[in-house]
């Protein structure tokens, strides 16, 4: 007779507290809003984001002095409407985020599942690849590739996609290892299902929930990295309204009109926070471990 439950009466299911639920909801609504804004950008923008008006340069936002009611968030150094550029910027950030995650997810999940499922030497090779990837300085390599190949949206997406797969691989590998030994996987194999079939039909659905969490975190990272690359001038090319690029272009004016760097940065912050909140919420919902607390 084991009496673990006697000395440790507090094994309880971790429930999502009200605070956490609220945060997840907030995150989800930020993300949904961002997608709606991105999709309907042409209908939401008051101006053409590329249209210059050299007579109205660096007009401050409406809550500041000498602003124009027509330009809610003001205009940039060559008189383009800031709000319109911010709205179109949502498109670029989300495009980068989603496509990068799809690229890196495909690479990482394939590598991770193969390593976790086959084990042994295959797994050793997978671990080696992950180690190599981690030791490469991410931003530096991305900057170099963009500098050599030329800056475009596609190049940024592919470069980040080829670099950001390691967390997918790590999670896919560990979860596959856990799933591999379950009875029904063995049963599927015993029933004569091919390995590829077992991997795609049986393993993948079982680890999908974990991968969704990784996807949110990687998406946030990709968006931040794109902004940093564009800020350094080696990301999305001008005149695209990338938020990072907007900050870079506004940098020389920040000492006189600091709001020019504040608004795109805040947009970036809110979007990334929303994605992270959503990801954290999903992870907490997935967490089913039972814990005892003696402290």
């Amino acid at each position: 007779m084991k009496t673990a439950d006697d000395t440790q009466p507090l094994w309880r299911r971790r429930r999502l507290p009200a605070f956490g639920r609220l945060a997840t909801l907030l995150g989800a609504s930020i993300v949904v809003t961002a997608f709606v804004v991105a999709i309907f950008a042409p209908y939401l923008t008051p101006y053409d984001p590329f249209a210059q008006d050299l007579n109205l340069r660096l007009v401050p936002p409406v809550w500041m002095e000498s602003s124009h009611a027509a330009h809610l968030l003001g205009t940039d150094q060559i008189g383009r409407d800031y709000l319109s550029r911010l709205i179109y910027g949502t498109r670029i950030s989300l495009l980068i985020g989603v496509l990068t995650v799809i690229t890196s997810g495909l690479i990482g999940v394939t590598i991770g599942i193969v390593g976790g499922f086959y084990g042994g030497r295959v797994d050793a090779l997978v671990m080696f690849l992950i180690t190599c990837r981690l030791s490469i300085p991410l931003i530096l390599v991305a900057l170099t590739v963009v500098a050599l190949v030329g800056s475009s949206l596609t190049v940024v997406i592919l470069t980040l996609g080829l670099l950001l797969w390691e967390r997918f691989a790590v999670v896919a590998r560990t979860t596959t290892m856990q799933v591999r030994n379950l009875d029904y996987i063995a049963a599927a194999q015993a029933a004569g299902a091919s390995r590829a079939h077992v991997l795609v039909r049986e393993v993948l659905p079982n680890i999908a929930s974990h991968l969704v969490v990784v996807a949110t975190l990687e998406m946030a990272l990709a968006i931040l990295l794109e902004a940093a690359l564009s800020f350094l001038g080696l990301g999305v090319p001008q005149p695209l309204p990338s938020w990072g690029l907007m900050i870079a272009e506004a940098k020389e004016y920040m000492f006189f009109s600091p709001w020019v760097i504040v608004t795109p940065g805040v947009a970036l912050f809110i979007l990334v926070l929303g994605i992270n909140l959503l990801g954290d919420g999903l992870r907490d919902m997935l967490r089913t471990d039972l814990r005892h607390r003696g402290w």
């Binding site: 030791s135 300085p137 170099t144 600091p258 760097i261 003696g294 402290w295």
Partner: protein, 313 residues
Amino acid sequence: MHLVFYLSTMLSFIFRRLWLSALVCLTVLVISFMLTHLSGDLAASIAGPNATAADIAIITKNYGLDRPLVVQFFDWAGHVAEGDLGRSYLFHVPVSGLIRERLPVTLALGLTGLIIAMLIALPLGIIAAMREGSAIDRGIMLIALLGQAVPGFWLGLLLIVLFGLNLQWLPISGIDTWKGYIMPGFVLAFSAIPALMRLTRSGMIEALCADYIRTARAKGLSTTTIVLKHALRNAAMPVVSITAVQLGFMLGGSVVTESVFAVPGVGYLAWESITKNDFPVVQAVVLFLAVIYIALALLADMMNALLDPRLRI
């Protein structure tokens, strides 16, 4: 007898780990070479957009870019092995000299960032773990979440405007005095704080739930001893690993921070070289940062082996 056994297992662990690190180094060597030679036409990139076909032909010949890639690689790798990282196209001096000159600045910056990150993240992580589920814990985790969403370069610019321009407490750029390290150090630290804090917290929560903590309390030990000796020691292993890894990331991330604050370190050098097509320098910095990361990961594993008696046998 026991000691001999201990030493032999320890040595074989170290040997295996060194062998793996050497393999990774070799792979990174290949990658950093391919990075500049496989993407696009290197000679055209060096020559710049206004070059004529004749210019490109001359550059191709001068730099030996017409030789087969394999030959070029072994030529370069051979020189690297001798410590010769090539010559800068732009400055016409050995790359190793350039890096040696700039490295101390980047290392100092990285260490400043690491110390700031640890001073903030470790105490907050421990406090959050001790008060798990309380308002304090939630507040601390909220800080981590907010911090994760702030773009580092943007934070840098805001700090420059606030402390450099408006308050005039700190220099806007450069590192002429020690004050110059504060803002870039903080921005670098900021990127590492959330991960370090979360890991400290989760490690401490797990450790504080352990049966041996109840034993320590049953022995009547003080809270300080229980938390700092018994729990922290067991939570320390993942924290040590992530700290080393984060220092590696910070050094890699110095490209952005050094550009924002115009700090003349390796990262700034790399950024300048990239924009000016000085690829031997870029190649060397990539290789250099990778080797530092590999060394840090190795160091973390060694420290963990020392921390956990179970790993040693």
